[in-house]
């Protein structure tokens, strides 16, 4: 496992955690009486939590792997394979983000509550990021 794979894994874990929290929140009345501003603030906190989780998890994982391998586990400068994998992963990520964002317009066009738009604005890049991390992990294994 390279440092870049570990980062992708940590990002994936963070996005899964947010998805679980989001489902839990919606199942426990997250939409009841929700306003656009209230939901936006809640999701901004979620983004902040993901950033903090990613930083802390990266530090902890780096320390744990360094101890296990008995050598410093550090990121290396990206070479042509890393750049290729990043480009291929981002291509799929861009597809996912664009498709989810476009699909999110349909409920709004049919008169859905604008609160839905805030969730879509949050969900599209989150799904894109998840797709990016999954494809990175996949491409590092097969190419």
């Amino acid at each position: 496992m390279s440092h870049k794979e570990m980062i992708a894994g940590v990002q994936l874990a963070g996005q899964v955690l947010v998805a679980v929290w989001l489902v839990w929140d919606l199942a426990n009345g997250g939409l009841v009486g929700a306003t656009v501003m209230g939901v936006a603030i809640k999701l901004l906190w979620a983004i902040g939590a993901v950033i903090v989780f990613t930083i802390i998890a990266t530090i902890i994982m780096t320390i744990v792997v360094s101890i296990a391998r008995r050598e410093e586990f550090k990121d290396e400068p990206a070479d042509e394979r890393d750049v290729l994998i990043e480009a291929k992963s981002q291509k799929w990520s861009a597809y996912a983000t664009s498709i989810v964002a476009a699909l999110a317009l349909f409920p709004l066009a049919f008169g859905a509550d604008p609160v839905f738009a805030v969730y879509a604005l949050f969900g599209a890049p989150m799904i894109g990021g998840t797709v990016n991390a999954i494809y990175q992990l996949y491409y590092y294994r097969v190419s």
């Binding site: 390279s2 290396e76 400068p77 070479d79 042509e80 394979r81 890393d82 590092y140 097969v142 190419s143």
Partner: protein, 78 residues
């Protein structure tokens, strides 16, 4: 540059052995790529760019065709 292609093989493992059991990390440093990339090339999962292929050959001081071999599989370009 691209995914490892069927029909392309390499002798990097043998060349490393002949070079005094050169480690993958040492070869990676000479070539200027990561160790993971050398592993992927050696296992045939990744075909490097022409530049990296030449750098690998230069690291072993052998011609390119001694490192990489290609065999047509579908009857084209042979």
């Amino acid at each position: 540059m691209g995914k490892g292609q069927p029909g392309i093989s390499n002798t990097i493992r043998v060349l490393r052995f002949n070079a005094g059991e050169m480690t993958q990390a040492a070869l990676a440093e000479k070539v200027g790529v990561t160790r993971q990339t050398i592993v992927a090339i050696e296992q045939g999962r990744y075909s490097p760019s022409l530049e990296v292929a030449f750098r690998i050959a230069a690291a072993f001081k052998v011609p390119l065709e001694q490192v990489f071999q290609w065999e047509a599989q579908d009857g084209r370009a042979d």
